[in-house]
């Protein structure tokens, strides 16, 4: 049966990797069945030691996994059962960005890029080379040796190096984890540009909700070497029963458009499926699509519209579900938005509030209660 065009644009396979050392409670270091879209950024998220990195290494072929299979957008990289059909790492058209920058110390930054360019899958033209260098903003660093570069600069060179191979799949293993907050902020915009300009699928491993919320289109949640959940990132991140405990990081991610600019108060109005939000004007163009994140702890609930408040954003909502939080003092309230451009689509959009159990009692909240959600802050993540 010939694969349809639809099924060939996917990354699919399975890996069963037995736990070789100290057989713990689980029998597998990795026990996953993959089926990811063959474009965009797929985030692989989970706590440290859950097997995210091992999964990425199996996909790259750096970790040998005899009981596994993998095909990437129609190309078979590893066929089940037959070791001869497994491509060695250097024959796989992939780019890999490690957690530590891992530049070759004996080559200059430019030498590192040259190393990749010489071995690229197909010839890299001067324009393509320039474009990658420009995309990562490393033109002025090429003469330096890695030891003279900051961690962030090294990682940008490492990403440029991975891109010059002309990969069909880019694997990134916590590329920002080794960097401090400043450097992270410095690199994230480059990753976003990458996302928008390149037409290759990216698998992005991270344990940071912030990075995932900002970058991922699709999300894979891992726990103890298994995939516990997989789906579109904004949808998955907005679930109260998010399978991995996020604590203060729990929140929803909404896709929105800049609809209006208020230059007097330096604000801009972002329109999303469930209504409008006023945000601080950070210079986005009108009509630009953005992604905003509203943390559960930044939402408070009121019975009245309560217009005499410093809170800018107030949305009418209905309680959909109330769940217990891991903290016995708190509950998680899933809220359905009541007004929007299109009430049917608005119904599909929800918010999550994390409030105290006492407030729930005082407000007599129950499924179906209608009230107002006051949003203390909205962060633009893209």
């Amino acid at each position: 049966m010939a694969p349809s065009a639809e099924s060939s644009r996917r990354i699919s396979g399975h890996f069963h990797l037995p736990l070789s050392r100290n057989g713990g409670s689980d029998h597998f270091a990795l026990d996953v069945k993959l089926d990811l879209p063959g474009s965009g950024i797929s985030g692989i998220f989970g706590a440290s030691g859950c097997g995210k990195t091992t999964l990425l290494r199996c996909i790259a072929g750096l970790q040998r996994c005899d009981n596994g299979s993998l095909s990437v957008n129609g190309e078979v990289w590893q066929a089940p059962g037959n070791r001869r059909n497994t491509l060695p790492v250097h024959r796989r058209p992939l780019g890999f960005v490690f957690q530590q920058p891992s530049l070759f110390p004996h080559l200059s930054a430019g030498g590192n890029l040259e190393f990749a360019r010489k071995r690229a899958r197909e010839k890299v033209s001067v324009q393509e080379y320039r474009r990658v260098v420009e995309l990562m903003g490393v033109g002025h660093l090429l003469a330096q040796y890695p030891a003279a570069l900051s961690g962030g600069e090294q990682q940008r060179i490492a990403i440029a190096r991975a891109l010059l191979i002309k990969p069909r799949l880019l694997l990134m293993d916590e590329p920002l984890a080794a960097l401090d907050q400043m450097r992270k902020r410095e690199i994230l915009p480059y990753l976003e540009t990458l996302h928008r300009t390149l037409d290759i699928p990216i698998l992005y491993v991270s344990h940071s909700v912030e990075e995932i919320a900002r970058l991922a289109d699709h999300l894979l949640l891992m726990e103890n070497g298994r995939i516990v959940s997989s789906g579109p990132a904004p949808e998955l991140l907005s679930r109260t029963d998010f399978p991995v405990q996020l604590g203060d990081d729990l929140g929803v991610v909404l896709e929105a458009n800049i609809a209006e600019r208020d230059s007097r108060w330096h604000l801009q109005r972002a329109q999303f499926d469930g209504g409008d939000l006023w945000l601080r004007d950070s210079g986005e163009a009108l009509g630009e699509s953005i992604r905003v994140r509203i943390l559960a702890r930044d939402i408070s609930l009121t019975r009245d519209v309560n217009s005499e408040s410093s809170i800018l954003n107030r949305l009418p909502v209905r309680v959909q579900e109330i769940r217990a939080d891991r903290d016995p003092a708190m509950v998680l309230v899933q809220l359905q938005l009541l007004h929007g451009d299109d009430s049917r689509r608005a119904a599909a959009t929800s918010l999550i509030a994390r409030i105290t159990r006492r407030s729930q009692h005082q407000l007599a909240l129950d499924t179906g209660s209608e009230l107002w959600a006051q949003i203390k802050s909205v962060a633009i993540v893209r």
């Binding site: 250097h90 110390p105 190393f115 899958r121 991975a162």
Partner: protein, 230 residues
């Protein structure tokens, strides 16, 4: 000052040490690479054999080599059958003995340098589409350069300094096996102390300069790393 016989001995010593060092780099590097990367059971036994010359008296090594390469030894029979004669008391006999004797001084620094790299550079190179040979020539070897440099200097210096093995296997043939250390011994036996002084002082000067160069080179490397920091 130095007599013609002394100069002959010096020239022979340099020739021997150069030959041995080059051969050891060619043979020792793959061995060091294997020792650094393998998880085989044989790693232990092979490491022990490589290190053996460090602890054995040179006379023991020389004695067994003499028997092994002599007319009734397995290698002696082979070389005779090939029409090469026997190796003891020849230059090439000395080369073979020195190869074994200086082996640990070359293998260990290279092995350490490769082990210190860890697997990462090679993995990175593999993800950049470099095959096994490509990785060896363009990543592993260049990164091991300081270790290879140390290995060359130590291998060379150690071969220059050997005496016991030479006496056992090479004897004392001018221009063929009479190296500087043996020449000094001869001078002392003949009570030619002035001659012995000149040669000995030359050896001290030579060894000092070689080691000094090595340390200066390593120091500069470390300082370069420190100047930039990360």
């Amino acid at each position: 000052m130095l007599s013609d016989a002394d100069l002959t001995a010096i020239w022979l010593t340099l020739r021997l040490a150069t030959t041995v060092t080059l051969l050891l780099l060619i043979l020792g590097t793959p061995l060091a690479l294997w020792l650094a990367k393998t998880r085989s059971f044989f790693k232990g036994p092979v490491s022990a054999v490589v290190a053996l010359p460090l602890v054995l008296p040179p006379t023991v090594l020389g004695f067994y080599l003499l028997v092994f390469m002599g007319p009734s030894g397995p290698m002696g029979r082979l070389t005779e059958a090939l029409g090469l004669g026997t190796l003891p008391f020849t230059f090439w006999g000395l080369v073979i003995a020195s190869l074994l004797y200086s082996l640990p001084f070359v293998v260990q620094p290279i092995q350490n340098a490769i082990e210190a790299q860890g697997g990462r550079p090679s993995e990175v190179a593999a993800t950049l589409r470099a095959g096994p040979w490509d990785r060896f020539w363009h990543v592993t070897l260049p990164l091991a350069k300081p270790g290879i440099l140390t290995a060359s200097v130590l291998g060379f210096a150690h071969t220059v300094g050997e005496f016991g093995v030479v006496l056992m296997i090479g004897g004392n043939i001018p221009g063929e096996t009479r190296v500087v250390s043996v020449q000094i011994y001869d001078h002392v036996e003949a009570l030619e102390y002035t001659q012995a002084h000149w040669l000995s002082a030359a050896m001290i000067g030579f060894s000092f300069v070689v080691l000094l160069l090595l340390y200066l080179l390593q120091h500069r490397k470390a300082a370069a790393g420190m100047r930039y920091g990360t």
